[in-house]
Subunit: 278 residues, 2 copies
């Protein structure tokens, strides 16, 4: 087995650093499998092992009722946001896990600032929350549609940084993953959805419109990631053409994130020592 | 009648300006009545006139469904937050008005960052929202209790400025009023609450604890106002020993704020021209 790759190599350089300017999605091969052992079975066994660890780490987070963890998942259609959640977190106690899907804003949501509906869903003390799409849609979609000019993009990006810093200053650990697939892989996955009637519910004709804007979306992703990768809320690019690899890499990242928290169960209560329940 | 005083003279100098450093609450006499005509009857007639204007301006705000107005009311116990809302806004259509009282945080609120419960209550398009107490309690109370050191105070103040800027960037006009009463006036009002059994519901023994910390609260107010008065969310000091004056001055401020919005009803719909309802 080759030397374990570094997760940091897939982290988008922090905003306002020299390397940040040079960041390009082209430097990341969607088909790469840096965290794979080379064997799917071994990879799946490792994923299962991490799932069990995440489950007990999450219980500790919940017992402590202090820290909060937020995972943001973004990616083009078919990049595997739903699949990642299912694969990585199906061993985690659902009691301690909250998945928040973000769709197009409702009229009520649209009557407020773009972070209004997001802030409300931020994890509470003891919670692990996953955003399945997120406030980044409000940076990406209007940019591609030409509704957000460069200045407005920068203002929104600044508000996102400041919002995420508020969460980070309030005991929240934030990790953001862009599931990075190739245009060819997307074609295959969309075609599979069209060809299989049981997958039609996953498909919407508007997905083809978004696909036509592929290059604009890639450019918008590049700019969004560069403008909002920070020490307190870093972005990671996850090569995601291989589903097994994608799941494993997100799992490894989450595991490292949880381990860095050095969670411990709250101290035993002296007052309970020797108490007999009658 | 003397020259009309300028509301700007009662605005706390903006954060990071030279004048801001020199700002002191001692420069504002709580017993002053700069906006009074000298006659209570005339003042009340003027207040009623403004109330009617605010009512029609608010209707226009509501019809337009774009701008939002947020009034933040802060002040020591008995400074007249409830009384101001009753007096200034009783002529405004309650349909377009939302009053949000903030009490001590609940356990659920406390499990999030301090702006979580506040953001959710921000005005929607077309709304006039009044915060009866606000996120500033989370700056003032922990400071007086010694739970927030100088650095943490600055971090919280920065998050407040950034949050208010997000709202302002999203079509929200923000005005913040500190109802400024003297310690003597508070004694009289608290005593009146104690002496009149029908006012006991307004009184809590903890109000006396807060009164004992009067000087600490005044210092915390000074620092909070100085750290968060900005062009997009200015603070005004309202001399409030006289209730009639307090009401009139807040009303004048709101009227000016609404007038500056230059609200207009949405354009008539061409498609409705000549339509006869059968």
């Amino acid at each position: 087995m080759a030397k374990q790759p570094e997760l940091d190599d897939f982290r988008v350089p922090y905003f306002e650093t020299k390397k940040n300017d040079k960041f390009s999605l082209d430097d990341f091969d969607p088909a790469a499998k840096p965290f794979s052992t080379g064997s799917k079975d071994t990879d799946r066994a490792r994923l299962s092992e991490i799932g069990a660890k995440l489950d007990s780490l999450q219980e500790c987070l919940h017992a402590q009722q202090k820290r909060r963890v937020l995972l943001v998942l973004q990616g083009m259609d078919t990049s595997g946001k739903d699949g990642t959640i299912r694969a990585v977190f199906h061993e985690v106690d659902p009691l301690g896990l909250r998945i928040v899907p973000f769709k197009a804003p409702t009229p009520v949501e649209f009557a407020h600032d773009f972070l209004w509906r997001v802030h409300w869903q931020a994890p509470a003390a003891g919670e692990l929350t996953i955003f399945n799409r997120s406030h980044y849609e409000d940076l990406l979609v209007p940019t591609v549609l030409g509704e957000l000019d460069k200045d407005a993009f920068q203002v929104r990006s600044r508000h996102i940084r400041q919002f995420e810093e508020l969460l980070a200053d309030s005991c929240t650990t934030i990790v953001k993953c862009m599931l990075h697939i190739s245009k060819d892989e997307q074609r295959a996955r969309l075609q599979a959805r069209i060809d299989d009637p049981t997958k039609h519910w996953k498909f919407d004709v508007s997905d083809l419109d978004a696909r036509k804007q592929w290059d604009k979306y890639q450019a918008a992703y590049r700019d969004a990631l560069a403008a909002t990768s920070t020490e307190y809320a870093p972005w990671y690019v996850i090569p995601a053409d291989s589903k097994t690899h994608r799941n494993l890499m997100v799992a490894e990242l989450l595991l490292r994130t949880f381990e860095a928290l050095k969670l411990e169960y709250p101290p035993a209560k002296e007052s309970l020592k020797g108490v007999k329940v009658e």
